[in-house]
């Protein structure tokens, strides 16, 4: 599941690249751009996300949410026939042809249900997202109300892009209502943990932090080194064809 808001041409370039790695029927697009562009995208597996919770400007302070994407995917039954969900963003570019095999193997080796980048426990720390959420009593009350864990004050954070889920964990999260705005970097890992799922971080070296596109020496070196992704390559699909 790839989240994008880019032009039709950029989306087509993106799908062409992903289709070298994943069968086209396994790729879904969650679209957060204009409706007319969404309607022009000729890809059968797509969902138009209208929610203001996704379409934020100051993402952290407006507490941007990916929960509408989870719910749209669940409602359209786009996970049917699949065991895992890779929820990513248009600027998170796979570099290896066996990327799903790499992620699935890592998930199984870790005995995990959810993989993400920079998965951290943040309660009692100076993490600004934790501090602003815990300032509201209803936040910990909500977590306690859904938790199967003994420690109901454990709060987690992870980056929003490139998360990898078992279908069970993904649909369980989709089934939880977001009772008030909770920032996606807090909501996804914290709710998954308190529903009883096991979180783990991807290996630190599994992506290159760069805006470089495929033609750059840096990305060529990353591919040769076996890196999994480059992020955030925001111009990959608009600057060039694949």
């Amino acid at each position: 599941m790839i989240l994008t808001h880019q032009s039709r041409t950029a989306v087509e370039n993106m799908l062409t690249h992903w289709n070298r790695i994943v069968p086209i029927e396994n790729i879904a697009v969650a679209y957060g751009g204009p409706l007319e562009t969404f309607e022009s995208i000729e890809h059968p597996h797509k969902a138009f996300i209208t929610s203001d919770r996704l379409r934020t400007t100051d993402h952290q302070r407006e507490r941007q949410s990916y929960h509408p994407i989870f719910q749209a995917i669940a409602a359209q039954k786009l996970t049917d026939g699949h065991e895992h969900v890779h929820l990513t963003e248009f600027d998170h570019i796979p570099l290896q042809n066996n990327i799903n095999e790499l992620q699935e193997t890592f998930l199984q080796n870790e005995g995990a249900d959810v993989l993400g980048y920079a998965v951290r426990r943040v309660d009692r720390t100076n993490n600004p997202h934790y501090l602003t959420h815990v300032h509201e009593a209803r936040f910990l009350d909500f977590i306690a109300s859904i938790s199967v864990r003994k420690d109901k004050r454990a709060i987690f954070s992870m980056l929003g892009f490139g998360t990898f889920w078992t279908k069970e964990a993904f649909l369980a999260l989709a089934n939880v209502d977001e009772p008030f705005p909770i920032y996606l970097e807090i909501f996804m890992p914290t709710v998954a943990h308190h529903l009883g799922f096991r979180l783990r971080s991807f290996p630190a070296s599994s992506y290159v932090s760069s805006q470089a596109t495929f033609s750059s020496p840096q990305v060529e070196k990353a591919i040769a080194n076996g890196e999994w992704f480059v992020h955030p390559a925001k111009d990959q699909w608009t600057a060039t064809t694949t």
């Binding site: 249900d113 951290r120 426990r121 720390t125």
Partner: protein, 100 residues
């Protein structure tokens, strides 16, 4: 304009913390875990410009240090971090054998 000025001021604090801030070490491991300016003001201690060199750096937990000998005139606030999450799966309704 106010927003730009505020952003600039924030960036200056971060730069100042990198240049003249205190090195913060994890009290348990003695590893450096960032730099910040620690500013006591109006009965609170403010952490300014905290910067951790690690990619997507961890955040810090302040706590009072333990004392081998009771010292009445001084206590020390130290910093540590949360360990990397490594919690088992826990599905009360779904686990075939929850005791495992």
């Amino acid at each position: 304009m106010n927003h730009k000025l505020r952003k600039l001021a924030n960036q200056l604090v971060v730069v100042a913390a990198k240049l003249i801030g205190s090195q913060i070490r994890d009290h348990r491991t003695n590893q450096p875990i960032g730099k910040a300016i620690l500013l006591p003001f109006r009965g609170k201690i403010h952490l300014l410009g905290y910067h951790c060199p690690q990619e997507h750096g961890q955040h810090v937990i302040p706590e009072f240090d333990t004392q081998q000998r009771a010292t009445y005139w001084k206590q020390t606030i130290v910093f540590t971090q949360q360990p990397e999450p490594d919690y088992p799966r826990e599905h009360p309704q779904r686990d075939p054998n929850p005791s495992e």
